[in-house]
Amino acid sequence: MDSILSILIFFPALAGLLGFVVDKHSAKVYGVAVAAIELLLSLWLWAKFDLSNGGMQFVEKIDIIPQFGISYNIGVDGISLFIVIMAALITLLGIILLRDDTKNMKNMIVSLLFLEMTMVGVFLALDAIVFYLFWELSLVPMLYIIGAWGGPHRVYAAIKFFLYTFAGSLIMLVGLLATAYLYHEATGNWSFSILDWYTLELTQTQQFWIFLAFFAGFAIKVPMFPFHTWLPWAHGQAPTIGSVILAAVLLKMGTYGFVRFSLPILPDASVTFIPFIMALSIIMVIYTAMVAFAQKDMKQVIAYSSVSHMGVIMLGVFAMNAEGLGGSVFLMLSHGIVSGALFMLVGVIYERRGTKLMSEFGGLAASMPVYATIFGVMLMASVGLPLTIGFVGEFLVLLGFYSVSPLGTILAGSTIIIGAVYMLVLYKRSFFGPMTNEKNRDLEDLDRRELTALIPLVMIVVWLGVYPKPILEPIDNSVKVLLTQMEKKAISTETKEAIVISKKEAK
């Protein structure tokens, strides 16, 4: 079946449309079933995927607007494959975790399924306009999820989220249009295909400006310091499922954009911008980690820590070598799993107590031992303890970035220390110590629904922490293809030197 990617994209959307008909009491089961089928489809894609091939596979191309060079062009490589699987997994587990008494369950399921379509679409798109289309569409269901099921300031948070990203992506759109125009100038054809753009030679100045335009769109999505202000609001107000998907998948769109667009299309500008990105990322890593430390609200701690780790991913993307880039793609996956799980865990306690303030808790380990254990595992993975999923990516990124800037690596490495500090403090305050609040004494431990959602994540955390090879290898292959392409395309010798495809070459 060669059209498996199209099925992956449009199956959830179709299911979402049909979902309007499903009775509201059966909506959750319907959602779980559809999301499970989607996950199985994505696993099937993995099974059929040629792991040794680093290039694009299952490519489909249908002209939509040939007059303007827009075509429905999708494909998958080692970089996008696992992000898509991760998106399908997180959506499924998120839906499982939904409480049965969620109000307007049907609308929630339908929005989530549409959101899933846009997420899968973004990561599979090989045409800039199709990419942009899914990118923008993803805002709409998220706006609704935050706005309809969120906290007291949900409308403000939802609109802030929408407008912030919308403004950034419109500037990105100008960049896309400019690239298409330059491609037209060079070849005489209109094309928005990224694969065509990979062959396009641009001067340094052109690359510089287009990079900035792309940066506006991607950086807000990541979100990079100082464009991160929308995220704490969105997380603070979003319902659990919203935060889970936002942190696990939507933020990855930004970093994925850098990998798919900025690096291969604008290699010289990417190298020129390394110091700039490095500075912002390191500020992001350290500053948001400190902010996380100062939070009183459990969810805000995790929100800021998620931003902090996104900084490490950014560093890896701009390390310009296979270790860093491959590591950061892996870190995108592990960040998705871990931060998704952490937001789920916070949601669990919030449902029981109606508060997320750490001061309200204490001694939870006694009343909820299973919960405390899972929380502990995820926390360790978030900090980057060896043999957990968090360690692999973080280690590779730091290793890769060391060749770019040892000082930057050391500063960024402090994330592990500060991260350990605020995470352990969170854990200590909430789970250990005397049980000061009587309300915590009779809390029920995780029930079957919550365990179903969380146990798979725990297993993945340990499995990929111990044995990451099945995932790292395909990622590595595709990353090398990407880096080779960049090096071939780079016009200045400094850029060529900065791009290191494999260790051997460096020596």
């Binding site: 939509i64 007059q67 303007f68 569409l137 706005g147 409308v155 609109i159 919308f166 100008v174 125009y181």
Partner: protein, 502 residues
Amino acid sequence: MLEPVNISLEALNLATLMPMLIAIGGGLIILLIDLAKDNLDKSLYVMLTILILLIDLGATAGLTYGATQKGFFDVLLMDGIAVLSQVLVLVASMLFIPLSLTSKRFHEYSYPEFFALFLFMIAGFQFMVSSDNLILIFVGLETASLSLYTLIALHNRSNSFEAAVKYFTMGALAAGFFSMGSAVLYGISGSLELGQIATAISERMNESGVMILILGGAALLLAAFAFKLSLFPFHTWAPDVYEGASAPLAGYMSVVPKVAAFVVSMRIFEMFIELQVHWVQTMVIVLAVITMTITNLMALVQEDVKRMLAYSSISHAGFVMVAIALATDKANTGVFLYYALFMFTNLGAFTMLWVSRHKDRVHHARFDHPYEKFAGMIKIMPMGAVVMALFMLSLAGVPPFSVFWGKIYLMSATVDAGYLWLAIVMGLNSAIAAYYYLKLIVYMFLREPSKDINQETVYYNVSKPLLTILGFAVIVTVASIFMVNPLIEYINTMIQATNFGI
């Protein structure tokens, strides 16, 4: 003694006149029917009007067109954009006229004169777009405008009269500017035909003192069309007029007169730009940027959805005005693409207002359509809320809905012409605009409905014809991705069959 003038019938090329004659003849037939028999239902007139428009569309589409296809004493010019804009005008009119078949009775539709005037107005627009003779453009413009003033006033309400009088006064001023500008150009060239004016200007441009005249003439014409296109600073009448007019008519006004005025602007201002009168280009860009920004900011603070949509349509016009300054084929294609897609979405949005229109203001002392009226609409009428949200997202430029393709095409044309900063300004304006469209979505989806609102009050005015038109609008809005390519192809052939600036 006067010499007898001999003109062969072929040279007259009466076929070029057919579309307008059909519209005028149709209007007269409606008046005659009214004379013969009283108390006929409006549905008869509506269907007759649609049929007449359909014949008109056939006649227009069947015209032989070409860049130099002239007719009727050489005053009519049937080039690509003339035919194209007539098609747009007729399609928009066919979408508009069934909206009079509401379930509640409204004053204006009980008069057959409404429909006759409507057809005369269309004839006026058709004359206006298919000529390069300033006199005929003027005659067409005034025919159309005078009919339109009356149509607005027929909506029997005090603020409709206010709107009509305001529009009339402003229109008269614009007409004054137009005739003065034409007079100046006539003074330079001794002709009222744009082709000859262009030749004369290019010959005399370097004579001392002529440049001042050219600038003066261009400025007067620019002011005249700024009135008609509601560009800053001549836009202040527009929101009041839109508010006073009935909702469908307001939607119609945000499309058809604009298309006609854009066609004439293309003919006149792109001529100046081709002649390297840089001042005109700069002025048009400045006007476009100020128009879209100021009206966007004004739309942010509106309390009434109809006024918000009025300001937003002005902003859209400013957005499209950029294309006139660029004066490239791609930009001109963009204008028509934009309006062809915008037409369905915007008419759809105004139709949604029309569906919920009451005779009296039940929701607010001052406004017919305050935001509160739509609060919690998702709970009262989910389909209606989803449809309205689709229109709003489309207007905001969220892909893949219709207006996005117009926006991206125009922005692409701007980038191609080297105005990167202008493209970014256009992008940022779309982001500002997203706020007020979102505001309505937030009201519809995220607020609780107020107590006295139920399905009855919101679906007050609904009828099958209205739902049909809404259906068309939704289909085009959602499935536009498949229509863009044939549209661009068609518009492109039409643009190729047009001489700009000569």
